[in-house]
């Protein structure tokens, strides 16, 4: 059985940290206020709005030490990553999860944070949350159903999402643990001990700013690494800001995905609201879900 960290209650503390790219303190204010309005205490790490002049929010050791401290601090009940970018892979192998194993807590984020979500699933058998991060709270985003879906997830309310049908969907029903994240990171984890074990599970993927040929290549990496063969179902989120070359690739995202999974029989759905855009529902990684893809709708229900 997968370990499910305790859900939060009024007065619980959420640690806010940037384990990857740099983020200004101003950009997290709305997030902090909203979390406080939800009834939580917020502990803001020094990596947020740090003095770093580089891409990263701090040196590898500064980011690692802060994450380690938040993992080990029993007064912190969940860790929300401020943003992604790139950087978790540089220090994840230096983390000590021994205290976390005894006292698991929710680790929350997406994009580069996919490295944590996959590692927690495969190496630590612990559930986590793929969801909007601090920036999503800005510009009125805190009122959106997407940020609010995080609030519900933290409270332990079971999710039951419906999404619009798509003529390219492959109809069917599947149940299994929900896993997934950013496609570039899922490909990047192949061959490492953090890669998801995908057999019998429902996989979701999303990405941003990639060339179509590279999306094809990364998706084929998952296939050739055996990660697609025995899925229970596949949820394709939004692929935004896609790039193409002057010599066009000649296939759309649904076309290339359907070609590569043509030999498998599980349900597949497209344009599910998980993405780098506002449409990014909180998804509990590692928790059993029911995926139902019909002509009329997509339903993803936490069991």
């Amino acid at each position: 059985m997968i370990k499910v960290p305790p859900y939060l209650s009024k007065g619980s503390t959420i640690g806010l940290t940037c384990p990857a790219g740099y983020m200004e303190l101003d950009k997290v204010q709305n997030c902090i206020h909203t979390l406080q309005n939800w009834g939580y205490e917020v502990m803001v790490g020094k990596t947020i709005g740090s003095k770093s002049k580089t891409y990263f929010s701090g040196t590898d050791s500064a980011r690692r030490d802060e994450f380690q401290a938040m993992l080990d601090d029993k007064n912190i009940h969940a860790i929300l990553c401020g943003r992604g970018g790139y950087g978790v892979s540089r220090f994840i192998d230096q983390l000590d999860f021994s205290t976390f194993k005894k006292h698991p807590k929710w680790i929350i984020g997406f994009s580069d944070i996919t490295v944590f979500l996959a590692h927690l699933h495969t190496q630590l058998n612990t559930a986590s949350i793929h969801s909007p991060m601090a920036n999503a709270f800005n510009e009125g985003g805190h009122k959106s159903i997407y940020v609010q879906s995080l609030q519900k997830a933290l409270k332990g309310i079971k999710s039951n999402y419906t999404a619009a049908p798509n003529s390219k969907n492959k109809i069917g029903k599947a149940s299994g643990q929900l896993i997934g994240g950013n496609l570039a990171l899922l490909a990047h984890l192949c061959g490492t001990k953090s890669a998801y074990k995908t057999n019998g599970k429902i996989l979701f993927i999303e990405d941003i700013g990639e060339y179509i040929y590279n999306i094809d290549r990364m998706f084929l990496q998952l296939k050739r690494a055996g990660h697609l063969k025995k899925l229970a179902g596949l949820i394709v989120g939004k692929f935004t800001e896609i790039k193409d070359n002057p010599r066009p690739f000649g296939q759309t995202i649904p076309e290339l995905i359907l070609q590569h999974v043509a030999e498998y029989n599980y349900p597949v759905c497209f344009e599910f609201p998980v993405s780098h855009e506002k449409e990014n529902l909180a998804l509990k990684v590692g928790i059993e879900h029911l995926l139902s893809v019909s002509k009329k709708a997509i339903q993803l229900k936490e069991l």
Partner: protein, 329 residues
Amino acid sequence: MGMLPFGSFAAKENNSNRNRIKIPPYLKKGDSIGICCPSGYSTMADIQQSIIQIESWGYQVKLGQTIGKRDFTFGGTDAERAADFQQMMDDDSVKAIMCATGGYGAVRMVDMLNFARFKKKPKWIIGFSDITVLHCHLNQVVHTASLHSKMCGSFPKDWAIADEIQVNTILSIKRALEGEKIVYPIISNTNNRIGEAEGVLVGGNLKILENMSGSISSINTDGKILFVEDVSEPLYNIDRMLCNLLRAGKLANLKGLIIGGFTSIKTDTPDSPFGRDIITIVKEKVDQFNYPVCFDFPVGHQKNNFALKCGLVHRLTVGQDAVSLQEIN
């Protein structure tokens, strides 16, 4: 105390200095070299100069069906590219296969290939960049040596006035195919890590090496000399790809590491520089190991991209003043 497990002992020996890779026969005058497109598309005009040169070396050229074919970015559909490559592998009159160009696409067709006949009658497969897919697969699955080198599009338009490096890199393909043992003296770099290494040479395009991770084609690099190169990637992504190799255990037990060209690196956004150059990025990954490392090796998406025999045992010597890579099979 039990007996020494002979099986594991033998396996260990295989991984270190015993090379069970098959070496395809070298070429003789009059032999045919096949040209085809397993990845991107190539027109007849694109490969014209290579045909003229290859024929002037005393070889015949056999053109595959995919030359001049185009399916968007690809040199024909996946099935067409696979069928053409299969035909080239199975045609006994073809003694080597030069890929016309890289681009993207080999990974879409490699699993459609049947290497049964090729295993019995191996031949040199030639190319780089996206062709790294084939080099990896040939090494790890088919156990056959292959040639990492420039391809048809890089042959000079006018041989008489082409610059010396370009001519020499193209001639390095000819020399390698004729069986001449490779010896490349290289200019030293102060960032190199001094040392000597002997092992099977493997490698290619870093993006493709990462793309192979987790698949059957991913090279077991233990006891080997690895070379890597790439083009047009941002620094953070080069770092991320090397992190994949590190975390997948591909860097821990190398005999030596060769860093080729990392050209046309995509610039950082000015307000958030990555803060490390290629040298620092590499050093961060391999500081914990002791094998020799050399930078600026002439392999990559650049003029000085010399032919390298993947799968053959080489000696890498990284000295204070001089660096050399020598084939010692």
